[in-house]
Structures are given as structure tokens and as C-alpha cells.
Symmetry: C2
Subunit: 113 residues, 2 copies
């Protein structure tokens, strides 16, 4: 399994979900997951989805510029670093953004262990 | 130990070293460390220091805008996300940058385990 391909597929899925069905992001987090958004920490899948749902913008479109990934930690984790721009409805200029995710691959996606 | 204080101290030390003694960054990586720089992966402390030493700029000054951190993984790891600007000698405009580090705290800095 090519880690870069997994990272890109995750990133496409994550931001497509963010832009079209933000509540669906809850499925991509677990109870132990933590989100730090502009300095504010939120823990747990439902709390994270609620935080993302109440950001001060609704319609948005993420355009991805770069996706970098590398292995992280002993348990099959993968660090994914994304940069790009965020176009908000009614705004002339897109915002730059960057976001990091740590993926933990679960069976059947995990090749060993 | 306050994780945010550790993250800020690490970030200050890392970029002060980067700007004044780039070869000294080797001490902040281990053999299992990986650096992904603009898509290129480098592994191991000496190889990472060599990669950073041969970036296409010499004199530089990092200005840090934000430092976010959160726990990462089961082994006392901490994810640190930095954004800021990078002023190169002789260049009028600073470049924006962002960088992620995963810190593994070793004794005596690790409070438990």
C-alpha cells in the first residue's frame, strides 16, 4: 500500500466531506482524537464535529495545494500535512490554510499488525 | 509540566539554532527521525542536518506567528505545529512557512514512564 496514495485519498475525502456534509467528519475521528483549531483544543469525535459545525462560516470550498506524509509513531500512524486555500461563500479572496492530521490505519487497511 | 510551555521552548530553541547554527539541529533529531521538506523525505539525524544545511539559502531569520501543540501517540509524543515567516538575507519580502514536529520527551523531561 502506497502511503502517499492513502494520504491523498484521505485528504480528498476529508475536505469533500468538510465542504458538503460537515457533520459527517465525526466518522473520521475517534473518542481519543483531539483537534486543535487556532489554539483551541477539542477532544472526542462528536465534540470535534460540533466544533467544526459551528465555525463562523458555512458554505466553503477547500482547494488543496500540497499533501505531504510520513510515518508517525510505533502503531502504524501516519502524519499528513496539507496546505491550500479556503474559499468562503461571498468572499472575494481565498484564505490560506494548513492542517495536520495523524491517521491511524485500522484493519483491513493496515498491512501488518 | 505545561505542554504548551514545552512546545514554545522547543520552537524557540529550534529556530534560534536554525538561524544561528544550522548544523546544531542534528542534536534535535534521532536515527529514526524523518524530515519531509517540500515533498522530499530524509531519514536520520545526520542526513536531516545535511539536508537543512544545503537548502538554497544561508542567512535567514524565522519569525514565529503561532505555536499549537497537542499530545500525539501512546509514548509521550507531542505534535507541535508552527506557522510564521522566513526572512532571507537580501530579499525584500518574507516567505510564509509552516512546519510540524513530533517531539518525543525523554527522561528527565518525561513526567511519567
Amino acid at each position: 500500500m502506497d502511503p502517499d496514495a492513502v494520504a491523498k485519498a484521505f485528504v480528498e475525502h476529508y475536505y469533500r466531506t468538510f465542504d458538503s456534509n460537515r457533520a459527517g467528519l465525526a466518522n473520521l475521528y475517534q473518542e481519543g482524537s483531539m483537534l486543535t483549531f487556532e489554539g483551541a483544543k477539542t477532544q472526542g469525535a462528536q465534540a470535534i464535529a460540533a466544533k467544526l459545525a459551528t465555525l463562523p462560516f458555512q458554505q466553503c470550498l477547500h482547494n488543496i495545494s500540497t499533501v505531504d506524509c510520513q510515518p508517525s509513531g510505533p502503531a502504524g500512524g501516519m502524519l499528513v500535512f496539507v496546505s491550500g486555500s479556503l474559499q468562503l461563500a461571498g468572499e472575494q479572496h481565498a484564505l490560506k490554510f494548513s492542517q495536520v492530521s495523524i491517521l491511524f490505519l485500522l484493519p483491513p487497511f493496515l498491512a501488518s499488525n
